[in-house]
Symmetry: C2
Subunit: 668 residues, 2 copies
């Protein structure tokens, strides 16, 4: 099914660069570590506004900084390497050899070229390969049916963990009370504009309904550390992804969004994938998952990670499946483990691992309308049925923890049994898996790993809140990462919207990261425009959630844009929009002339009459009113209403009585 | 600003006709009156489905019925005239002369041509023009400042209402216990598929959360009558709009949506407006509001109403303003009253009347970020400021009731002070007006009128429910009709989505009708594609609300589509979608070949592996399991989890202690 690699794939991928309209990339230096440069975007307003530039969270990395020369061949600057080496506990080593099967056996013109520079990977100095070696794995899976991880393994790991090993992961540092540079960085990044917000509109802070979240007025590095230590937040940051601009995911921080990219067996190329990542982050994707299947997975991923300022997530079972020619029953722990190490060394920041899909739950999906719709979930179901054994992801879970801990790869515990239709929402299969994910969260934490939990799918509005509450309870408030949910099944082609509704709601209820859905969901592969529409839709859903939760600074951008709208500063309205290009284009379709950009009317009302103009007059009027006049008016109003009320309740109750006072009979 | 009328406007408007894919127009005959023909659409499935056609609510009128010959020059069949005459109480009379100002003084090539046939209007036989004549009006507005409707008027109307006058409006019939043909018609229409739903999945009926709504398993004509008599539902149906297919709006019925059309001073033509109405109803608009401004309003509206199978609403103050050359302070009760009668005679089904914007409330908007954004609201504010008098819509409210009652035009009490930004949501101005609308609801009911209440605008998620609860309380459960609400201000170009989120939520909480927002909101005039996107977005939001409220039949379509998706019946998936064309088009963009329409894989996973295939195997597996096997598996699962849980809570708590058992100090 794979098309040959086109000539273009042997040329340098072209990516989108340059500042957004009226925007300037600004770097601030947190007082806790002035050596750090934390990016944000500032949107300049028209002089007539007499307002300072509006600061906004910036996920776009160096690509939107005109002062940075982008060379996709070299990749982004590897800033974090120094941070990681300086705190120690890691060693550089000879990485695993790239094997033909890593690229699906692609050769010659079918093989996408390698990324030009190779770097030696880092891992925890105390990492013990023998603990995860095949023999132990086998002995475990022999007893897999018992659903009871290998006692050697447990003994083994207990020995290790009882030692005082040097911290490697953000979770381990946080537990030890150590504040890392990443923690300082994300605190500064999250604080964006909070001072201004509190200065101008303190009462707004209290205005939201956060459903029990704990959102402080200011984010301090210590607050970040404490949230991570409690397992309530994570900073996905593989020590082998030093190009990363760190970011935090947790219920008490701004809601994040994820965009999925990835070539499939049927379409797309290296060039497209790198540009998709850059394109998605330009419009606001905080995270990108590479869900590639088919050939060239390894090389494509290398290009993406070396050029990515945001965390990259994967579902390793996808690549493992390719290595056994797509035959699920041929999967083994060894192939999977080898794939984990391959991806850990490349710098993948989080893995979706469907370890909660257990043999005991498979039959619970039999009567569903749409069965098992998660790809990873169904791969493991197939394997378990073929071998009638417990999932090796479950029986080898501790070995997986040890591998991921050695590189600080975060867990995204997959929801392999998520509902694929309204009919299957919140059923026993979905919740049984969630309960298991809660147990596995504890195991992963015990091994020093960072953890988030995947959820929803298709869920009607009245069943969304239950999902959030159960996840918080079962998983000890570990960050929830949900797909949508889609609130109806009947709008293919518009599922970015059916799911944007559910995403905004579950984000409000407490979900930390929203996985986007594009208009092509269920129908095809998203193209460039679909990715943008999906990202903008989820950006606005996440922002609606931040507003409703009462994030101190969230409303600043809404207020700035609304003032611009009210004052007919059209350019400012466009520039403050999540998608300035589309806003401008839509305006131009009706009023193309440049003059209209400053015109004090819009196409909705026309030039003769404008409601906004009148409001200006209202202000003069109110400004000249005395308090007594206001009082008098209010009295009038109440008097008038009281009279009406009294009179017409009485009158209404009398109406339509016949002479003898009884209700008339129906005559139709 | 008006462009000359183009030649095309002198040709017959072209409208979209024909059945939707795989769909058939079906008419059923309610047992309560077999003479009625109630339309619905049935979507046929592929034979391999072994399922009956899926019935769906059909707003598209005769345009989607291949057996009906459409002639826009003649208009639709005037079926309801016989219903109205048969029950009596009305007279035909010489209608008001069309005046040049009705079309904004347009002449010659600037004047859009008249609709070919004129019909004499009907009105209540007991209608008393003298009650609403100018002199009384004047004497009232002289004392308008008092905020206290004319005592003559009250005395006057009391005399009238105390008599036993013959019913004209659906509200009057309902109050008298009389079931009209319209009530039987809408009951049949709402029941769509309920029998099947209850037969197949009775438990689903109870599954929703309706927030205190009273949704029966079956809708009977008597239930409809009772809901209307209680003021909890309306059937907008002007006796002069006999082309209408009646429809009910109320919290205990399916959620309806409205699409706005209308030429403005700056753009569009008669032809476009008629086609916009047909186009909007084809995709699911239950109602259409004609918000035209500028010239040719009268003639454009005539073409729309004569060809409209759905209720048409207007904001009469817009046309009144045109009659005084757009100068708000020149508005008078006489001009407004004349405009009401003009539109009543044409057959407008509901009027937005901003009678709740009172002099006493104007100063409450002075400190808003976006002041008064309702056009009608700001027109009246301007008038009140200019004259320093109470609004004539308030002081003459009873006269307005008498006029609307005579034609059974429903009130849509306008929210002239709705918030235009997140910052202004739920403020005193908004809620003061809502309290007044509650009082006016009682007045209108006392006069025999049907009433719904307009609401929201821009409201963050955590403030939406308060709106619904206050409206139900203040307005005695009169149907709520809300714009959006938009849940953030920062996404111009995507406000169909920012508002679709709020619309789905407030629809769930109890709003009876959702006024759509198109992608062009705040930016320009919607074109044909924008109208479609707006309608589909609101259709899916309304459906998400119906699902969440637990409407008995709502989930049938989701389940049918999900089964089709699961079984790779691509054609059925497209045909069951709200927008079959877009769904098919998106699929074709990735897999254009016809063969792929029957392929048992999709572009997301490719041909090698498919999660849905695997689920089929899961079913065989589960089918062959004994109960004991299932029990055994569950025990295993619980045992494994219990052990892990115990072990790792303990282990976790031990981690990272130094030899002396104390927590290590931070060293960074």
């Amino acid at each position: 099914m794979n098309k040959p690699t086109s000539q273009s794939e042997f040329e340098t991928p072209k990516v989108t660069t340059g500042a957004l309209p009226a925007s300037r990339k600004v770097y601030t230096h947190p007082t806790a570590d002035v050596s750090l440069r934390v990016p944000r975007r500032e949107i300049n307003l028209h002089p007539s506004a007499n307002e300072p530039p509006v600061p906004v969270y910036d996920t776009s990395g160096p690509y939107s900084d005109p002062d940075v020369e982008i060379d996709v061949e070299k990749g982004l600057a590897r800033i974090r390497t120094a941070w990681v080496l300086e705190r120690g506990g890691v060693v550089e080593y000879e990485g695993r050899e790239v094997k033909p099967e890593d690229n699906g056996g692609a050769t010659g013109k079918y093989l996408a070229r390698e990324f030009p520079t190779q770097n030696k990977p880092l891992r925890a100095a105390d990492f013990d390969p023998t603990f995860t070696n095949g023999s132990l794995g086998e002995s475990t899976s022999d007893r897999a049916g018992a659903g009871d991880p290998s006692s050697e393994a447990r003994g083994n790991i207990t020995e290790q963990t009882k030692q005082n090993r040097a911290p490697v992961t953000q979770y381990e540092y946080a537990k030890l009370g150590i504040i890392t540079k990443e923690m300082i960085y994300v605190a500064e990044r999250e604080n964006l504009g909070r001072k201004e917000a509190l200065a101008n509109a303190a009462e707004k802070v209290a205005e939201g309904e956060s459903w029990g979240a704990d959102i402080p007025e200011f984010i301090t590095p210590e607050f970040v550390r404490d949230e991570i230590a409690k397992g309530r937040a994570i900073i996905p940051a593989n020590i082998n992804h030093p190009e990363l601009e760190p970011q935090i995911i947790g219920r008490n921080f701004l809601v994040k969004i994820n965009a999925n990219i990835g070539n499939s067996a049927v379409a797309s190329s290296v060039e497209e994938e790198v540009e998709k990542m850059v394109w998605a982050t330009r419009w606001g994707a905080d995270n990108v998952m590479d869900l590639s299947t088919g050939r060239n997975i390894h090389n494509t991923r290398e290009w993406i990670i070396r050029n990515s300022p945001v965390p990259i997530g994967t579902v390793p079972i996808y690549q493992a499946l390719e290595k056994v020619d797509g035959i699920a029953e041929n999967l083994t722990w060894e192939v999977y483990r080898d794939t984990l190490i391959e991806q850990c060394e490349q710098g993948v920041d989080y893995f979706t691992i469907h370890a909660g899909v257990r043999l005991a739950y498979i039959h619970l999906t039999a009567n569903r309308v749409t069965g098992i719709v998660s790809r990873g979930g169904s791969i493991m179901a197939k394997w378990m049925l073929a071998h009638h054994k417990e999932s090796f992801l479950y029986t080898h879970f501790e070995e997986i923890c040890e591998i991921m801990r050695a590189y600080d790869v975060s867990f995204s515990l997959g929801d392999g049994l998520r509902p694929g239709s309204i009919a299957d929402a919140n059923d026993r299969a979905q919740f049984a898996e969630l309960e298991t994910l809660g147990e596995l969260t504890k195991v992963a934490h015990a091994h020093g790993c960072q953890v988030m939990i995947e959820g929803p799918g298709h869920v009607p509005m009245h069943k969304i809140k239950v999902n959030m509450e159960k996840q918080l309870r079962e998983c000890g408030e570990a960050p929830f990462y949900t797909l949508g949910p889609l609130t109806t099944d009947i709008a293919p082609g518009y599922d970015h919207i059916t799911s944007g509704i559910g995403a905004a709601m579950i984000g409000w209820y407490g979900t930390a990261m929203l996985c986007y859905v594009t208009p092509k969901e269920h129908l095809g592969l998203p193209d460039r425009d679909d990715v943008k529409v999906g990202v903008i839709t989820y950006r606005l859903a996440a922002h609606a959630a931040d507003l409703a939760k009462g994030h101190p600074a969230a409303q600043m951008r809404d207020d700035a844009l609304s003032r611009a709208r009210f004052e007919f500063r059209w350019e400012d309205q466009f520039n403050l929009a999540l998608d300035p290009e589309t806003a401008r284009d839509f305006h131009d379709q009706t009023l193309p002339k440049e003059a209209h950009k400053v015109a004090h009317f819009c196409s909705m009302c026309g030039p003769k009459f404008c409601s906004m103009k009148i409001t200006a007059e209202v202000r003069d009027y109110a400004a000249n009113m005395t308090d007594n006049e206001k009082k008098a008016l209010n009295l009038e109003a109440e008097k008038g209403m009281a009279e009406m009320s009294k009179k017409y309740e009485e009158l209404g109750s009398e109406l339509y009585l016949s002479e003898d006072g009884t209700k008339r009979e129906a005559i139709d």
